[in-house]
Amino acid sequence: MWRLSKYLKPYWLPALLAPLFMVLEVCMDLAQPRLLQTIVDDGISAGNPDIIRHTGLLMLGAALLGVIGGVGCTIYSSIASQNFGRDLRSSLYRKIQTLSFRNLDRLPTGTLITRVTNDVTQLQTFVQMLLRMFVRAPMLIVGSLVMAVTINLKLTVILAVAVPLLFAFLFFLVRFSLPMFAKVQNRLDRVNGRLQENLNGIRVVKAFVRSDYEEERFAEVNRDYTAVMTRGMRVLSLNMPVMTLILNISIVAVLWYGGALNRTGGIEVGALIAYINYVTQMLSSMLSIGMILTFVSRAKASADRVNEVFGEQPDIVDPEHSDSVSVSGGQVEFRDVSFGYGEDGQDLALRGVSFTVRPGQTLGILGATGSGKTSLVSLIPRLYDPSSGSVLLDGVPVNEIGLSELRSQVGMVLQEANLFSGTIRDNIRFGRPDAPEDEVLRAAQAAQAHEFIERMPDGYDTRLGQKGVNLSGGQKQRIAIARAMLLRPEVLVLDDSTSAVDLTTEAKIRGALERDMTGSTKLIIAQRISAVQGADLILVMDRGRAAALGTHEELLKTSEIYRDICRSQGNEGSEAYA
């Protein structure tokens, strides 16, 4: 957790000033009982009204001086903690930008988002408390102890018993309650999990009329959560009464022992009152230590989650001396490429794939779900590195080309069309913010998006909601295609990116691709034979292997799998060739 303290370093001055100001507030707080003692013993008992007036004013002055300390601490701790949070957030965000796809597979989006938002906020609050509460409580404890000892040494026997007792109790409480609340969180997750699952499957639940069964399943986790929560809360509710009782017993003990000392002249009444005040102050500050501890453990959990992200090593990095390497043409070559998503290269998604696509050619890729189509194309812009073998672009292994250069040469349209808030124009220009208007229009026209964009109230200036929520799936896909075409890349990869587009439109997009992107090498993953039939080459993937490669006509003759796929999509077509 303390590793993150480097983000506080630039703000060392406010981080130092905050506790210093707090020292002022604490000192003024500690002065009050002492001044009260003066009023009682030197003013009342000694019969000196001047001292009463004088000391009373001093007390008011101390109160006013104290607020300067408190406010100063607030200001500087806010400055330090908020800036700390900003820097940490920025740095975490920057780190996320460098993560490779493999890292991202390991850290799901949802948890990344909560880490940048909730966890950083949690740590920010922690730093703020660190500079205020965490300084105040220990200082009050030590200060009160010192003051009490200077008032009367004999009475300190009572504290010598009470303080260790309180610490022991606190220790046990934390020991017992921390694992309990981990359990509570776990049970709460189960309640949420059940509910989420039920909501996701609500149609299935209704279709099978399983609400009774579902209620029973939910009642189970609900009961469990309630039981664990009740137990945890009950243990925790011991805190206040027990600590208060120890505190009060100490006060009674001071009262009695002090009373006895007073009779023999060992302590004056005012001193006794002040003493009781310090005891109260000290022991009640210890109560807040308990609270500090829960904050520490919560902040530690957040820090661990943040550090986990910082600890991720991106496995895709820019090669050294890559500045001079530039490629053009767009020839894609796979040489005996194997690839697995697992850490150790097990469960291979690709096994010994080799093929070459020449510049300007179109390669269609077909195959069953899970046969390795997406994995195959992901290797070209180095979203992943192969486990063995090599992928070459224009004869240069892709891991020797600078990432920026490589990715500007390879345009890719992913299965899921990810759009961003902003205007439609901004979205199309996503990869080339400086692209001229006519190129934007041309790309949109080629992707068959121009028409529906024009029909929208603000045309290209229509603002999209977060993730493009106000568009249909097919519209989003067409904008994503336009976005990739605008890059005019040497290699264009379409990963099943017209699945939500109707057949007629899909055919038009295909036509436009052939027409407008003649210079680019095109790799098109598709489900429908019709989408790849006209390609220069068709690659049939089967369980990670390149099962067949050739033109439509060749494959109909040579590949059983290909014929099978054709048959499954309508007999006439394949019969005509078979």
């Binding site: 909560t114 969180q185 996503f430």
Partner: protein
């Protein structure tokens, strides 16, 4: 000498009121405090929930009152100890008083703990039943309810809102009562001890209230600004991290960082201000406390000097003034907690008050006798009158027939099956099964006799066996395996290391979509319904695999009236009747050959799918 430390309340002031609690599942932006709309009615209703445990509640009140009495009386006794025993030096009496104090404190501690013990049980049981009721309600709400709300929102009612109720509850039931007893009791005792000193002790109260209100007002404004910035930053994070892969492919990392940095900076400026302002509460309250302490000490001493009071009374007052001031300066905080508790309860009750889809009862069908004859008679449907989804659709399915629904997206295919299962109700026209209007039938009975295999092949956390058994809860293992065989799922299940006992994660992410669809088909086989609906049931199975499970599908449909929705025409050519849906009407009906002959819309669609191959 106060009973409770004054540090305790310094911190809540330091934490923004909208901070997500430890239990809040990663919701994006912290919500600002909400205000309840109908506080009175909601509180009465919550009360009714609590009242189910009246015995526990009464016990809580008695214990709370006892603890508060101890809190109230002990400062008085401290003063007495000083005046009567310590100053004159009478030790015998002091021992007695000390023992009395010890007894009181012990009793108070016991009462406080018992109170918390009982209250925890009462509150948690109540929250449990609230959660249970909410869940039960979700099960009974019509499908249209779920169309218009995000899951996140519905989940947050079950967690955040109920958590707010719980926090508010703690405040209302015990804190308020404690505050009331302590404030009134302390005031009475203070007045009895010394009227003038009481007035001195109360001098800072208006200042406390003023400071709370002033700081509170400025804080709210600043927090609002902070929340807005935080909201837009969280929005950016959610969007860009969600689309991280796209960002990287288009090399937009730098641009995203720049945008992030800008909003982050704005947030920082707003946050520093908000934190400083809200953080003022602590020091200012501390100062007012110290001033109060000083005033009582100095003026009290002066009064002792004039023989108007005694040192012991000053000691009592120093304690009372703290006890008195705390509830008042805490009031704003308590009020906020109660408000958001009531607002949370309101959001829960709002759901509980919705009409279920089971408001009227229908007659039971008697499952076995169903033949499966389905008739739509000029059925129309619309969510909104001006936008009809279905218009005058009529058709007939004889028992055992296979009916195919084809047509472009949005033509109303899925609506037809949703009406048949009464997920939605028709706007006009009638749907009948075996000649009986489905509106007269018991809804659950109807759904039991209609099996559905849906597009989103949903599987639950649990073993594969449990997931198939979902179709019929009393099915034995052998029946489950038989169903899996029929659905062509048996072979892939057996290939898994733990076979039928393989646990699935939530949403079944450890299976491919195609495998999940096979499981849901097996589930439908097991349910053995008279009428079967396949809504794009094989859309994610690649065409080749689909061809291989055609046999399974055919055996599933044998002897049942079935409705098949599919984009791929190859799967529905053998249907007894094809309904070509277009713009909410059944534009064409007939067999595959009849429709091809007619050379209409179906013919065009068919040709467009196959001509490129021919």
């Amino acid at each position: 000498m106060p009973e409770r430390p004054n540090e305790q309340r310094r911190e809540p002031a330091g934490i923004p009121p909208g901070m997500p609690g430890p239990g809040g599942p990663g919701r994006g932006a912290p919500r600002p405090k909400e205000r309840a709309r109908n506080t009175g009615a909601t509180i009465r209703r919550l009360w009714a929930y609590l009242n189910r445990q009246r015995a526990g509640l009464i016990l809580v009140y008695i214990l709370t009152a006892l603890a508060a009495l101890v809190t109230m009386i002990s400062p008085y006794l401290l003063g007495v100890a000083i005046d009567r025993f310590i100053t004159p030096g009478r030790l015998e009496g002091l021992l007695g008083l000390c023992l009395l104090l010890l007894g009181l404190y012990a009793g108070g501690a016991a009462a406080t703990w018992l109170q918390a013990y009982v209250m925890t049980g009462v509150a948690q049981r109540m929250l449990q039943s609230l959660r249970g009721d909410l869940f039960r309600k979700y099960q009974q709400l019509p499908v249209s309810f779920f169309d218009t709300r995000t899951h996140g929102e519905l989940m947050s009612r079950n967690t955040n809102d109920i958590e707010n109720v719980s926090n508010g509850l703690n405040q209302t039931v015990t804190q308020m009562l404690t505050s009331l007893i302590v404030v009134i009791g302390s005031l009475v005792l203070m007045l009895r001890l010394n009227v003038w000193l009481t007035l001195v002790g109360l001098v800072t109260i208006p200042l406390v209230m003023l400071a709370t209100r002033l700081i509170g007002g400025v804080t709210r404004r600043n927090f609002k600004a902070q929340q807005e910035k935080l909201g837009s930053l969280n929005g950016l994070i959610e969007e860009s991290v969600g689309g991280q892969r796209t960002v990287q492919i288009f090399r937009r990392e730098q641009a995203m960082q720049a945008e992030f940095g800008e909003i982050n900076g704005e947030l920082n400026r707003a946050a520093v201000k908000a934190q400083i302002v809200s953080g003022l509460v602590g020091p200012v309250m501390n100062m007012l406390n110290n001033m109060n302490f000083a005033l009582i000490a100095a003026i009290g001493a002066w009064m002792v000097f004039r023989d108007m009071t005694s040192v012991g009374v000053i000691v009592s007052f120093l304690n009372y003034s703290r006890q008195f001031g705390r509830p008042i300066s805490d009031l704003a905080n308590q009020y906020n907690l109660i408000q958001s508790g009531v607002a949370g309860a309101e959001r829960v009750f709002e759901i509980l008050d919705l009409e279920t889809e089971y408001e009227e009862e229908g007659e039971l069908i008697g499952g076995a006798s169903l033949r499966g004859e389905v008739a739509f008679d000029s059925v129309s449907f619309a969510y909104k009158p001006e936008r009809p989804i279905l218009q005058n659709v009529s058709f007939r399915a004889e028992p055992g027939q296979k009916i195919a629904l084809v047509g472009p997206t949005g033509a109303g295919k899925t609506t037809i099956v949703n009406l048949l299962t009464r997920f939605y109700e028709t706007t006009s026209g009638t749907i009948s099964i075996d000649g009986r209007d489905i509106r007269e039938l018991d809804k659950n009975d109807l759904r039991r006799s209609v099996g559905m295999v849906l597009q989103d092949a949903y599987v639950f956390a649990g073993t594969i066996r449990d997931n198939i058994r979902y179709g019929r809860l009393d099915a034995g293992d052998a029946e489950i395996e038989r169903a899996a065989e029929l659905a062509n799922a048996d072979s892939f299940i057996r290939a898994l290391p733990r076979g039928y006992d393989t646990p699935l994660t939530m949403g079944g992410t450890n299976l491919s979509h195609g495998q999940r669809q096979l499981l849901t088909i097996a589930r439908a086989v097991l349910a053995d319904p008279a009428i079967l609906i396949l809504d794009e049931a094989t859309s994610s199975i690649d065409t080749r695999t689909e061809m291989h499970i055609q046999e399974a599908m055919r055996s599933l449909m044998r002897g049942r009236t079935s409705f098949v929705i599919a984009h791929r025409l190859s799967t529905i050519r053998d249907a007894d009747r094809i309904l070509f849906m277009s713009g909410g009407t059944a534009a064409e009906q007939g067999t595959h050959d009849e429709l091809l002959e007619a050379r209409g819309l179906y013919y065009e669609l068919y040709m467009s799918q196959f001509k490129r191959l021919g």
